[in-house]
């Protein structure tokens, strides 16, 4: 077995994802099968190969920064328009610190 239900719960916790019991069982089986397939990467010798984080074109820059000039921002009202709970110009969340 590549992954246990205990590890599934641990990973769900890292990902801030609440899972039901049936989901824990299902994902244990699914991830186990997928990780089993992924094992085949170990058949390839990658000694001395640089990891490729981004597609690299032959020659030329792949990423370039734009000129550092001011642009009008979205503005508070627009930025909050999709918030589930806006208030006083802020995103409201459940209380974190008790007084």
């Amino acid at each position: 077995m590549k992954i246990t239900e205990k590890e599934v719960r641990y990973v769900a916790d890292l990902a801030n994802l609440s899972l039901s019991e049936p989901e824990v069982h299902k994902f244990q089986a699914d991830l186990d099968e997928i990780l089993g397939h992924v094992e085949r990467l170990n058949e390839i010798d990658t000694t001395g190969v640089e990891p490729m984080a981004q597609v690299l074109y032959a020659g030329g820059d792949t990423a370039r920064l734009r000129a550092d000039r001011e642009r009008p921002p979205l503005g508070t009202e627009t930025a909050l328009a999709n918030a589930p709970q806006p208030g006083n110009g802020y995103f409201k969340v459940p209380k974190v610190i008790e007084r």
């Binding site: 890292l14 609440s18 992924v38 981004q54 597609v55 074109y57 974190v96």
Partner: protein
């Protein structure tokens, strides 16, 4: 005027000859699309106000004697992962069911600037994760050519709209095959341009080192014209490429004599017999056109799925972290503490496939596993890219199947995630290498299911890719 077969060129001619107005065309297409939509569920919503005001701008330009732009009056369907200011953009997710973007994606701004008319937003797998469009929170899309079958995915709604004739062209997005595979299943043209060729500003991020926006159309020419209008450097996307955009229509001259094409033998071994026969016939057509086709070896092909599903899920687990109940419309009612709110919002909001990929991505990035999985996959990715570089030192382009099989039945693979992932085998390799690749119709099975041929070229060599696809399309229609 038959809306279902209108091309960009015919629309332009009709507008300039004053046979119809852009507003007439937009209204008629909207009416037709709304009537047809229940059969496929291709559109999640229409944007009539936006469409009619864009069309009116085109008509006003024509009335003033100005050039109305290369996409003048063209009805465009847009995959619902691409942001449209003021028009709901759901990404096929319950989490974003009410999300109204405050800005336009650059691709949208550019196509409207060119005279394009955005008709509405198309259905897709949730956050573009899937190969069948069955992972949408708003119900699956049906293949317009075979209603009991999937249209492919994740850009299944865009492919179905173009095939059904409820849009002239469409925008899709592709991370591992999400434009090419549905194009193949629905019998239309789908293009994944070179990584960085089209700005992703306003494309909802899935896997940032692999995400692309690209055109879908009924002809190679229309796909080339649409790509032309959206391609090029964008200061708002640091990964968009500086390379100049050539005039793609110049390469649509039918002249492929002497071009060297590679046929990777690893891409031929798992095809259904009908797909294999159609691809073989397609290769024969290219030979008759004067192409020199030779078998080539791509030894890393068998490792591409494993490599992709590590890299794509790792990036997805980071990109989807932002959907936490604070900023984007949906928040679970079962929220006690801040931490509970995050967990329940995500648990209730994401569908099964997104959760599975978040889990896999979080796992492969977690302490103790990073080197064994993520770093290893990035090294294998370099070897896959090297396979392509070696191939392109010998051939001008590569031809291959898009998918091992034609459109499968709704429900057939949804309970077997690995089988679903394995169906992306021939499209994922090109995505990992970041090269331009496209699907062009190659014929139909006895049952009438379309099969696409894939054409892949070097970075930024869209002209050669389009040249081959266009010559092939002409030969097939003769």
């Amino acid at each position: 005027m038959d809306i279902r077969s209108l091309s960009i060129g015919k629309i332009r001619d009709g507008l300039l000859a004053r046979r119809f107005s852009a507003v007439d065309l937009a209204q008629e297409t909207l009416r037709f699309a709304e009537a047809q939509n229940p059969a496929t569920n291709a559109y999640l919503q229409f944007s009539p106000e936006r469409a009619l005001s864009a069309a009116a701008r085109v008509d006003a330009k024509i009335a003033r004697g100005e050039d109305p732009g290369p996409l003048a009056g063209v009805p465009v369907a847009v995959k619902d992962v691409i942001l449209t200011k003021g028009v709901r953009t759901t990404c096929g997710s319950k989490l974003l069911a009410e999300y109204v973007p405050p800005y336009d994606a650059t691709a949208i701004a550019r196509l409207e600037e060119a005279g394009g008319v955005v008709l509405g937003k198309t259905n897709c797998d949730e956050f573009a994760m899937g190969s069948s469009t069955e992972n949408s929170a708003f119900g699956p899309v049906r293949n317009p050519l075979a209603p009991d079958r999937v249209p492919g995915g994740s850009s299944g709604g865009s492919a179905a709209a173009v095939a059904q004739g409820t849009a002239a062209v469409a925008l899709g997005s592709d991370t591992g095959g999400s434009i090419r595979q549905p194009a193949s299943f629905c019998g239309v043209v789908g293009v994944t341009p070179t990584y960085g060729r089209v700005s992703r500003y306003g494309l909802t991020a899935f896997a940032s080192s692999l995400d692309h926006i690209g055109p879908m159309a009924r002809t190679v020419r229309d796909a080339a014209v649409l790509l032309q209008t959206i391609a090029g450097r964008d200061p708002l996307d640091a990964t968009s490429a500086e390379a100049p955009v050539p005039d793609y229509t110049q390469s649509l001259d039918g002249n492929v004599k002497g071009l060297k094409l590679g046929l990777p033998r690893e891409y031929l071994k798992d095809l259904t017999s009908e797909t294999g026969d159609l691809i073989a016939a397609g290769v024969e057509t290219l030979r008759k056109l004067g192409c020199e086709v030779r078998e080539i070896g791509m030894p890393t092909t068998d490792y591409a799925i494993a490599c992709y599903y590590i890299i794509a899920t790792a990036e997805a687990s980071s990109n989807l972290a932002r959907y936490d109940g604070v900023r984007y419309t949906f928040r679970s009612q079962a929220s006690g503490t801040l931490s509970d709110m995050y967990r329940h919002t995500r648990g209730e909001g994401f569908g099964a496939e997104c959760k599975r990929r978040i889990m896999l991505g979080t796992y492969v990035l977690s302490a103790g596993y990073y080197d064994a999985y993520y770093l290893k996959a990035q090294k294998v990715r370099a070897l896959i890219a090297r396979d392509f570089a070696r191939a392109f030192s010998e051939v001008d382009a590569i031809v291959a199947p898009v998918s091992p099989f034609p459109a499968f039945k709704l429900g057939e693979k949804i309970d077997d995630p690995l089988a679903m992932y394995l169906s992306d085998i021939y499209t994922i390799t090109g995505s990992l290498a970041g090269i331009p690749c496209m699907s062009v119709p190659c014929g139909k099975t006895a049952e009438g299911l379309p099969v696409g041929m894939q054409i892949l070229a070097k970075h930024f060599d869209e002209p050669t890719m389009f040249r081959v696809a266009d010559a092939f399309e002409r030969a097939r229609s003769n």
